[in-house]
Amino acid sequence: MSAPDFDIQYVAHLARLKLTADEEAKLGSQLTNILGYIAKLKEVDVANVEPTAHAFPLVNVMRADETRPSLPHDEAMRNAPAKAGGLFVVPKIVE
């Protein structure tokens, strides 16, 4: 947890988030400030402490493998921004 040295353009690319130059500058300085605050966690001795992912973990939550009613196709598609022939329209992926 060294000094915040993140590359905002790299992280924005990982997050698939297009930022304007102004946003990059503003977010960059605000996040430096927040990461500086978060650095206080370095003070805590966490040796031999197990991480908590959920306060009340339930494991192997299974259900019976049986057919049940589900959302009708047209209902599932109703909010699609672009559709044709019952499918989502997307930009070309494979040449």
């Binding site: 997050a15 206080k40 805590v44």
Partner: protein, 486 residues
């Protein structure tokens, strides 16, 4: 006026057929028409649908059916799916999204005969503490419309305080029910993690999110929880355990109960009037027979830092689904990556972008252990602090917030100061325990509500209701109304 009643008072009138569900629903819609222009609690409401549900409830009542929620108008935060109604999370990115199904809590309330209506304003994707992060403009506090109502469920809190609904639902990830309930002067409950199904709740941080209620008194909070709690196979984090009769815990004496006051919560920066109100509430609880002892939650000071790692990390993953392919707004691009980036860049507001970037960073290669894993370990210590305290006490008493409602714009340019306003509510979500905020007084000038927070053992909601109800019966605060003119 019917819209000013509590759920229990309206249910009593409906049971004797002294009034109708349609009249109650119409009274809420009339109140919205009168005052919502001043507070903007609602993003939208479908009056024809609401009145049709009221008529259906009146038919059930005429047929002799009775129930604590039959014919009761309850409004929804814009994060909960209601079939055929919009769900935007107060964001532009969902476009003209219409929910294809009901959330489990909505299904359960419908089965109980409640009228589900309205979309309540919130901070975009529940990220914020003031409702200023809504893409559709802020909600204002009914007690002083130059001030924020709290957040993220600011619309849910303001609507109940302004008598626009008898009760509302919200979600609480780090205080998003309890903080606005405190700042607007209503009763807000965040149940134990796993008690209420999140199926149909648009996810923010999945290890922290819980659905809960805003009500005008403690009895109503018990009634709503009784209706929405319980195991749901469609939410794998839902805990299989029977739902108790919460109303049975009301009216029991609190004599002999042990309450803990965490010494770490007596921080500098707390408003003196808030401190005085909470001190007086503790005296009142003692007078009612509770024994109050000082306790220690030694890792309190790290809770905000842990929260802003865990919550943003989970949010960065959960919000990946908003990519412009299957639903919501789309901004085209030459290839899929450009389409995703353009859509998300145009669709998300500044706070959501800030948290996605922070969450992506703390999970990224080379930083995962230093940030995310370390935060999860400190979370273990925070949770252990509470479990240790609950070996000595039945519940914990704290202020809900360090100050009363702040001014619009006061903290919106300083995200870190905004985050620190959640300092008393965040640990509860990290530990997964239940928390309830109820009114415990007012500041003098301007007159603004102050909230008392009760934190309970896991699945200890009955004890919270018992204490809160005893306090409420002994104090006048919950009966006060904001000075809105209509």
């Amino acid at each position: 006026m019917l819209n000013q009643l509590t759920i229990s008072a309206l249910a009593a009138k409906l049971a004797t057929r002294a009034t109708t569900a349609r009249a109650a629903m119409q009274a809420c819609l009339d109140q919205i028409a009168r005052v919502d222009g001043q507070i903007h609690a609602f993003l939208s409401h479908d009056d024809a649908d609401a009145l049709a549900q009221a008529d259906a409830a009146d038919k059930r009542l005429a047929a002799g059916e009775r129930g604590p929620l039959l014919g009761v108008p309850i409004a929804m935060k814009d994060v909960l799916c209601v079939k055929g109604q919009p769900a935007n999370c107060a964001s532009k990115i969902l476009g003209k999204f219409v929910s294809p199904y009901d959330a489990t809590v909505v299904e359960k309330l419908r089965a109980a005969g409640a009228i589900i209506f309205g979309r309540l304003n919130m901070d975009e994707f529940a990220m914020g503490s003031s409702t200023e992060n809504s893409a559709f403009g802020p909600t204002l506090n009914p007690w002083d419309t130059t001030r924020i109502p709290g957040g993220s469920s600011g619309g849910s809190a303001a609507a109940v305080a302004a008598d626009e609904a008898l009760a509302t639902l919200g979600s609480d990830t780090g205080g998003s029910i309890r903080q606005p309930a405190a700042l607007c002067g209503c009763v807000g409950l965040k149940p134990t993690y796993g008690l209420v199904s999140r199926y149909g709740l648009i996810a923010f941080a999945s290890s922290l999110d819980q659905i809960g209620s805003f009500t005008k008194d403690v009895r109503d909070a018990a009634t709503v929880l009784g209706a929405i709690a319980g195991h749901d196979p469609r939410d794998s984090s839902s805990v299989p355990r029977p739902v108790p009769d919460y109303a049975a815990s009301l009216g029991r004496s609190i004599k002999g109960l042990k309450l803990g006051l965490p010494k770490e919560y007596m921080i500098g920066g707390m408003d003196p009037e808030v401190k005085a109100a909470v001190d007086a509430a503790v005296k009142q609880l003692t007078a009612l027979g509770a024994e109050v002892v000082e306790i220690s939650l030694p890792h309190t000071d790290y809770a905000v830092a842990v929260y802003y790692i865990v919550a943003t990390a989970e949010a960065s993953a959960n919000l990946a689904r908003f990519d412009g392919i299957r639903y919501g707004a789309r901004v085209d691009g030459a290839d899929p990556t450009a389409l995703y980036s353009n859509t998300r860049g145009a669709g998300f507001g500044p706070e959501v972008k800030r948290r996605i970037i922070l969450g992506t960073y703390v999970l990224s290669s080379g930083y995962y252990d230093a940030y995310y894993l370390r935060a999860q370990k400190v979370r273990t210590l925070i949770r252990q602090d509470f479990l240790n305290a609950f070996e000595k006490v039945d519940a914990i008493v704290t202020p809900t917030t360090p100050t009363a409602a702040f001014k619009v714009g006061e903290k919106s340019d300083d995200p870190l100061q905004m985050y620190l306003s959640d300092i008393f509510t965040i640990s509860c979500n990290l530990a997964g325990i239940p928390g309830l905020s109820l009114p415990c007084g007012f500041t003098r000038s301007p007159k603004l509500p102050i909230g008392l927070q009760l934190l309970g053992k896991p699945f200890g909601e009955e004890t919270l209701f018992q204490i809160a109800h005893a306090y409420e019966q002994a104090t006048p605060w919950h009966g006060e109304k904001p000075p809105l003119k209509g």
